[in-house]
Each structure stands twice: as structure tokens, then as C-alpha cells.
Symmetry: C2
Subunit: 121 residues, 2 copies
């Protein structure tokens, strides 16, 4: 178990993607690379997960898509930009994260504490 199981991140992939779209509009491949580098390869999102997140979030109104039709460079891509509603959702998820962290940490022992169980009411 050296890398992160996906069930853990489940429910936060959307937040991760939205965070990156908050900087500037982007597309699948770039987002995927950014997650990889930002987490120092600790988390590598699966392509299918990523693209289905895009679809879901567009349907929910968190993001909007547009096509790159610049004649200049490379392949045609589908870009996404975050909406105001998406920005709000992102903020809510951040608050939720702080609450969740608090809750879960009630049940996590640090290495040091293994064996010395604390009081329970």
C-alpha cells in the first residue's frame, strides 16, 4: 500500500480539478499532469475518472467547456473553465473538508500513541 487508494480521494476529485481550473481554464491532459506534479506523483488520477468528472461537473454547472480552435498549435482540445457556481461549490467543499478532517482525526492514532489508548466516555 504505497500509493493512495482511490476510495479515499473519492468525493474530492471534483474539488481537486476545480482548484486547478480556478487558476485558469484547462483540459484533461494538462490537469492530469498538474495533479501528478503537484502531489509529487503521490496521486495520479485515472483518465476515465478525470473525464467522467468533467462530464458530471459540466452537467452540474460547475464548469463550462469550449473548444480550442486556434489554428496555431497542436491537436484540438476540449477546454473547461470554472463557473461562478463552481467557485461557490469549491468553497463549500473546502469548508466541508475542514470539518471532515476534524471528524476523521478523532479516530486516527499517531504512531506514538499505538498501545496507549486514550479515554473514551
Amino acid at each position: 500500500m504505497n500509493s493512495i487508494s482511490s476510495d479515499v480521494i473519492r468525493g474530492y476529485n471534483d474539488t481537486i480539478i476545480l482548484f486547478l481550473l480556478l487558476q485558469h481554464p484547462s483540459y484533461g491532459y494538462e490537469i492530469s499532469k498538474q495533479i501528478k506534479t503537484l502531489t509529487e506523483e503521490k496521486y495520479i488520477i485515472k483518465e476515465t475518472t478525470l473525464y467522467s468528472a468533467f462530464t458530471r461537473m459540466e452537467k452540474n454547472g460547475y464548469i463550462e467547456s469550449f473548444s480550442s480552435d486556434k489554428e496555431g498549435s497542436g491537436k484540438r482540445r476540449t477546454y473547461y473553465r470554472i463557473t461562478d457556481y463552481g467557485r461557490q461549490y469549491y468553497k463549500d467543499k473546502c469548508s466541508e473538508w475542514n470539518l471532515t478532517k476534524e471528524v476523521i482525526e478523532n479516530f486516527i492514532l499517531k504512531e506514538d500513541n499505538y498501545g496507549s489508548n486514550q479515554e473514551l466516555s
Copy 2:
């Protein structure tokens, strides 16, 4: 969105339950109450979630069940105790949690930072 969405906790219900079984063997109703009080009602586990977690974890060998057949008090209950394998699993999940926390926090902005986006490589 005043309480915790369950998708967040998904994958950590087992860990939460195992933490409580680490103290002493217990059963559904008690576990459920303890989660409620320990989190100050911020998280209330659904009964179906709890009992299906028991079933799954027993199948996986993290816990063992036994019946209360004391003549003394109350209704007959199904108790669960954590196994050595369960203890190991719990420890692994704690490490995983610390890693996950690290990863996710790369993508969470504090209230203060909204608007002032940081540099991305």
C-alpha cells in the same frame, strides 16, 4: 451543506469502527452512539452502513463476531472484536490517511487566500 457528505467519509467508516473496537469489543448500537458523541453529532453513521461494514470487515478478517449470552442484562447482541489483521489494517489506514491529507491539502484554499492564487509550475 451543514453536515458531512457521506462520500467524503467513504472508505473511512471501516477505520472509524476499527478505532473503537481497538478499545474493547463492541456491537452496532454502541458503536453508533460512540461515533455520534465523539464527533459531537457532526457525524452520525447510518445503521445500514454500519451493519454492512461489520459484515464486510468480518468477511475480510478484520473483526470476529461473538454472541452475548450472559443471562444478566438486556437483549442478545452480536459483539465484534478486532483481530490482529484488523489492527494491522487500521494502522495502514492511519498512514494512508496522513498521506491523503497531505495530497488533498495541496488543493484546498484557506478563506484568507481566496482571490490570491498561488503560483503553479
